[in-house]
């Protein structure tokens, strides 16, 4: 399949190359390992493979069939049809990194607009062309902060309310580096507000990382934390849910030095966890320390406005081991999808979605809090996710919910031993009041039983 060579082509080409058969091309390959038989199923035609994949897909239950109250880092939002209509276009889909700007103005201008939208959303000054996801974006923020101080500050404070998977990823990335990660140990007080991190900041601290809304859905103004960090020369990174920024004060206005985030809610399908989109924005003084690609506006030799990858001396292909990161392939097409999403919704549409999430989540929280056996874990303000204390283990409730075609919330005991019987519930514009009432009704069964 997908090889256009006819027998005649092959014969003519072998003649030109001056060999007799295809096998002759591989004389450099150690003979005893040459041409292994691969134990793979027989090749399928397109007709067969689509049938097989359809069958595999049908073996899943999707959020089209289940009412989804699961979030914890990936959210079920509505994706406008226009997003897919654009990213399916072969000119975007089958191009590569715009190394040759004369042939890549489409991709380049799209990245430029992505940068513009993310800067607008976060209130920051500069944004790169994407990281792999929200987790690796935080890991790169840690690397950048560490490099920023040329190794002279090694403490990185992680909020315990930073997504556990992000913290795990940061830990993996930090394995080979001298940084010390702290703040999120088992003794951390999960109820404490962000100011509780302030005492941990010292002159050896490179970065404080918090999340907004935090993993438990809570929203805090981090201005005070930023000021405290800055007072001691440290930086503040805030990992965001971009949908929340449709409504909430931008982290740039709280004094964040770096804003990272998981861009998935911006029009990207859940797709069982990926590909997603790592947002990364910072202040202009750090632009040369930032990882990732960057598009800048310039002119061509005909005097036309045009776009080009810029400040490439930060990158691996130029700087090799001195690069700001090893990232090469990024999330290009997903960044494009998010740009189309942000542009379609715009100022008012994103606010509308954010408000829907907010109101629906608060309705759900209010109704659940009324149930005997259930209560809200935190009195803090929240956006569209909240923690509920449950009368029985979360997994039991979720089994029951599943029987009613409801995908229940996230079982926090998986990451926080103290939060046994605590469920993290996410609500989006996709959850109708009917869904929510059904959820409440099934929860009632447990509270009564």
């Amino acid at each position: 399949m997908f090889i256009p060579h006819t027998d005649a082509d092959r014969a003519a080409m072998l003649r030109t190359v001056g060999i007799e058969k295809l096998e002759d091309l591989f004389v450099d390959v150690p003979e005893k390992y040459r041409f292994p038989t691969l134990d793979l199923p027989p090749a399928l035609t397109e007709m067969e493979v689509t049938a097989e994949l359809q069958e595999i897909a049908d073996a899943n239950e999707s959020v089209h069939e289940l009412a989804c109250f699961l979030g914890a880092g990936a959210y079920n939002h509505y994706i406008p049809a226009a997003v897919d209509a654009i990213i399916r276009r072969g000119e975007f889909l089958t191009a590569y990194t715009p190394y040759q700007p004369e042939l890549s103005q489409g991709t380049l201008q799209a990245i430029f607009e992505y940068q513009s939208n993310v800067v607008a959303l976060t209130g920051m000054e500069v944004c790169n062309a994407s990281h792999y996801d929200g987790a690796t974006a935080v890991a790169e923020a840690v690397n950048m902060a560490y490099a920023n101080f040329r190794g002279k500050r090694i403490r990185i404070i992680l909020s315990p309310a930073l997504n556990p998977q992000y913290r795990q990823t940061v830990r993996t990335y930090a394995e080979g580096s001298p940084v010390v990660l702290l703040g999120d140990g088992p003794d951390a007080d999960l109820h404490a507000d962000p100011n509780s991190l302030i005492p941990l900041i010292d002159a050896d601290t490179a970065l404080v990382v918090v999340q907004y809304p935090d993993f438990f859905g809570r929203i805090y103004d981090y201005t005070n934390l930023a000021e405290s960090a800055h007072a001691l020369g440290a930086l503040l990174a805030i990992s965001v849910n971009p949908i929340a920024l449709g409504l909430l004060k931008a982290p740039g206005f709280m004094g964040a030095d770096i804003v990272t985030g998981e861009g998935q809610p911006l029009g990207i399908p859940l797709s069982f966890g990926g590909p997603y989109l790592g947002l990364f924005a910072t202040r202009k003084e750090y632009v040369r320390k930032m990882a990732g690609r960057l598009t800048g506006e310039t002119v061509d030799n005909r005097g036309q406005r045009a776009y080009v990858l810029t400040l490439t001396a930060r990158e691996q292909h130029i700087r090799r081991e001195k690069a700001t990161s090893n990232i090469c392939t990024n999330q290009g097409l997903i960044a494009l999808a998010s740009t189309v999403y942000m542009s379609l919704l715009g100022k008012n549409g994103l606010r509308q979605v954010a408000e829907l999430c907010f109101h629906k989540a608060h309705y759900a929280a209010t109704e659940i809090a009324k149930l005997s056996g259930y209560s809200l874990w935190s009195p803090a303000t929240f956006f569209n996710e909240f923690v509920v204390q449950t009368p029985v283990p979360v997994s039991e409730i979720n089994d029951l919910l599943l029987d009613h075609d409801i995908l229940g919330g996230y079982d926090l005991s998986q990451d926080y031993p103290d939060l046994d019987r605590h469920m993290l519930i996410a609500v989006t514009e996709m959850n109708s009041r009917e869904h929510i009432d059904q959820l409440v009704e099934v929860l009632t069964e447990v509270s009564n039983g």
Binding site: F2, D9, M13, G18, D28, F35, L38, E46, L53, Q54, I56, L66, C68, E91, F92, L93, T94, A95, Y96, T97, P101, E102, L103, Q105, G106, A110, I111, V119, A120, E125, D133, T169, G176, D221, G246, L247, L270, G273, P275, R293, G296, E297, T298, Q316, H317, E321, A323, N326, C328, N330, G332, L344, G346, G349, L350, H359, K360, D399, L402, R433
Partner: protein, 488 residues
Amino acid sequence: MGEPQLCEISVAGRQGITFPMPDVPFTALPDGLVREDLPLPELSELDVIRHYTRLSHLNYSIDTGYYPLGSCTMKYNPKVNEETARYPGFAFTHPLQPVETVQGNLALMYTLQEWLKEIGGFAGVTLQPAAGAHGELTGVLIIRAYHRSRDDIKRDKILIPDSAHGTNPATSAMSGMRIVELKSDSRGNVDLDVLRQECDETLAGLMLTNPNTLGLFDEHVEEVIRLVHAAGGMVYGDGANLNALLGIVRPGDIGFDVMHFNLHKTFSTPHGGGGPGSGPVGVAAHLIEFLPAPIVGILEHGDDYLPPLYGFITPSKSIGRMKSFHGHFGMLVRAYTYISMHGDAGLRAIAEHAVLNANYLLALIKGTYHLPYDRTCMHEFVVEGQWPDAPEVHALDISKRLMDYDFHPPTNYFPLIVHEALMVEPTESESKETLDAFAAALLKIADEAHHEPSLLKEAPHNTPVGRLDEVKAAKELVLCCGVATLDK
């Protein structure tokens, strides 16, 4: 006529899509935490569609022309991949759903792990890494963890041939390793003498790209690996060039301990203008327990009546998590689709024809373009883009001139060890006719370089924009719509 920026066509009050009114009571918005302004553009759906459709026309892509970008394997991306990855059962499953509800996804991932093991000759595979470089980081961290698990803490040296891709040294640096660059020998192989000198007790490993970025299969690869192993080091394989080896040789069989796959190169998932990729990592048996968590395993075995129950497993000495969730699942579906359509013989045919195409194209141009390492190449080759008798012409000029002939240029100036490098990877999905036309253009350009060099220096002429002022871009740093310069 340039396409305006979105912020320039934004009009206050427009909205490309709207949402329902809340069907629940309103809750007071949080005091002091509500933003005042959200300066996103305001556009109609038509504005957005028209803008991006027009922008798309400014791109060159595989779907519009020949794209022999070396090291990137710009093969045809089958349209069926785009269908299967969008099946709602895949696209609309949440990564944290109970495993019972996503057995389809898990079965697909498990099978893909098995297939990649079989194709690469490895004992274990993780699908988590997001791209090649991310796979490299995974692999080097695994090597590091392996040595540490044996209390072999002094091993911090990674050897990297001078022909290696920039991600190799960058990865090693990120992993806290010390990097020593290895010179290549006159045939483009690892220089065994140099290698021997570096094989000491600080050796953590070697990152080897094979075929290397010259498109050459290392003639002493077995010896190279033997030396590294003998010194207690591990061999990392940069699998970017696996397209040359499918069904030809399994890297695991010749001793590679770790290797990343690039699904976006070898297995036809689209490059997307820069990504997303997918960089699964295969490891030999002694490294399985270090794989990042989680990987997909069988929790309960099946029988004649019941399928097995798939779930997630954490290897006992796992290096940890490399990113959120389970990898670029959407890309995995595409690669699964592609592999399914090939089987054993089909995969081997890919490699054979990729290599045939490269050698054929090389044969057509090698009398005219200097080939620094004159050997049978694998899936790609590197020639010099300059002639002693036309010194003012550079590889870049040749590349720009190719655009006038409606071709995407090869990779320029990489690998670094070739003077004025032009790195050409034809891929197997292109026809003889296309290669003939491309060779004809290269020969014509060589002639122009000698007789009318201004045609090259002023190229491209037929593209939407001409050569760009890159200095201005870097100096002025205009990085956002409506912001005149970053340093305002």
